[in-house]
Amino acid sequence: MARETMTSKERVEAALRLEKPDRVPIVPALMVAAASHLAGVSRAQVCADVNVAIDALLKVFDDFGGWDAIWQPVPDVPHLFQLILPMKIKVPGIDLPDNYVMQILEEEVLKPEDYDKIAEMGWFKFHTEDCIFRVCDTTPEDVTKWAIEAFAAMSRVTAEVEKRGVSLLLGSAAMHPFFTLSLGRSMVKFTEDLYYSPEKLERALKRLTAEFIQSTITACKVSGTKVGNCTEERASAFYYPLWVFERFWWPYTMEIVDAMWSEGLVTLFHMDTPWDKNIPYFKKLPRGSYILELDSTTDIFAAKEVVRGHGIIHGDVPAALYSLGKPEDMEAYVKKLIDEVGGDGGYILGDGCSTAADAKPENFRAMLETAKNYEFSKK
């Protein structure tokens, strides 16, 4: 049987250049809900302390034999998540039983008049001086401490991945401006705003986009990574008709990708919900400038045909397969992904959305082992 000829870093970098590595690189989207489950730590513990969350993530990495890159720079523990999220969070161990998954509440946090404030003062200042206090009971001093804590967590994750000879895939954890405002307003109110007062909303989107670009480029440079994250779960043709996408999402997206690409950075779109009808738009972006991280509700095989040789794909082992399937089902699906999506490069194996919160350990292991061995077993 053939053997690996690339390091993990070389493998991921080859995929980012749309080339075919020695085997498909593996980067599970392991968040704290699944990491705690697989590491045998309660969700209350990982949510209370980012270092416990990092320990859990590293334990899973070490216990399962590792993979090619760690996905996110800072684990998604609730209080650090609040630094970017304009929503209330119910926390395991505080608001929920210890082993529940944290719950994000869909409520109207932002008011219509906030669009003008955001356009004038900028999102970051608005969020850290005003909005964050609407969604959690905290103080300005704590917010400063959390920011320092997040930076320290990123430094620790970066050092730990280096020790293991792998890399960090994402240099930032940010949400698309459209998604940020939709979450803060609630989808119902945000949709009404798109309909009744689009100009106000567009001014806020413009300001948010400029800040997104600046903060993401800075974060990637500080962490030494080539990929910035842009999460979007609500702009696809699953919810909105294409004219909404074309007016309120796509222009800002092109601006983000062009700015990132001009700095040598790739934008990863974490795309939940089916994006099948939106995927062709991405071919208007520069070749190799974007990663489509698909959640298994978009047809990844059809998406590959659309962006083959042009865009990188990451995904999409389904949550149900992790939680309800058998190892042989997992093996068969991973082989299909490798054959049909990874065949000519530009592909990173990962999860549909994120590793399922209740993934069976044997299925997680089957995913990793199949991906590490399948291509070599054929040579």
């Binding site: 989808m187 949709t191 043709a237 919810y239 209740d358």
Partner: protein, 195 residues
């Protein structure tokens, strides 16, 4: 196990209708279990409903059509094992497509024998939502066995007829019932469909 999925966009009145349906079916000696996937503006008072003879299970942290599909299946197994209800009612999040929930149940929950999909549309916001969220509303309506036009106390009769006609164009097979869950208007015809 018989399953009733009460779906519809955020704010369409799912929880209000669910509570009303559950109370009325319990009153005619039906054993009702509720699986709740949404923490909405109207909370489900699990303890109160248990005293009323219903079983309530909550699924937190995501959408049952996506990352928590295993939780849904395990919850259905638990409900069947412990409670053996005449009817299990699921309220998925308002951002879900009921067809995806049905696919998960059909694929992984063999204990479910019958599935009825009820989709609510909000009569007061139908025009705006049907223009702005066309794909979601279309998918929700097309997956329905029964489409319930809710909040009819907030619009005039001509509007209700127009909505019913639009719904009929999207899904000619679905039964269409116009109600106000909050004002308890026209609930009897709907309950007859469910029994």
């Amino acid at each position: 196990m018989k399953l009733l999925i009460i779906a519809g966009f955020l704010g369409s009145g799912k929880t209000t209708l669910l509570l009303e349906v559950a109370r009325r079916l319990t009153a005619v000696s039906q054993r009702i279990a509720i699986i709740e996937n949404e923490v909405g503006e109207i909370g489900i008072d699990g303890e109160y409903l248990r005293q009323e003879g219903m079983q309530v299970q909550e699924i937190f942290g995501g959408c049952i059509c996506c990352t928590l599909s295993a939780d849904l299946v395990l919850t259905l197994e638990k409900v069947e094992r412990l409670f053996q209800p005449d009817l299990t009612i699921i309220e998925p999040t308002g951002l879900a497509r009921p067809g995806d929930v049905v696919a998960t149940v059909r694929g992984y929950a063999p204990m479910v024998t019958d599935i009825l999909v009820l989709v609510l549309v909000d009569a007061t916001r139908y025009e705006m939502l049907s223009e702005m969220l066309t794909p979601l509303l279309t998918a929700q309506i097309q997956a329905a066995d029964i489409v319930v036009i809710n909040k009819i106390d907030g619009v005039d009769g001509a509007n209700i007829d127009l909505i019913a006609m639009n719904v009929g164009l999207l899904n000619a097979q679905a039964k269409v019932v116009a109600i106000s869950a909050e004002k308890r208007i026209n609930l009897e015809p709907l309950l007859r469909e469910l029994l």
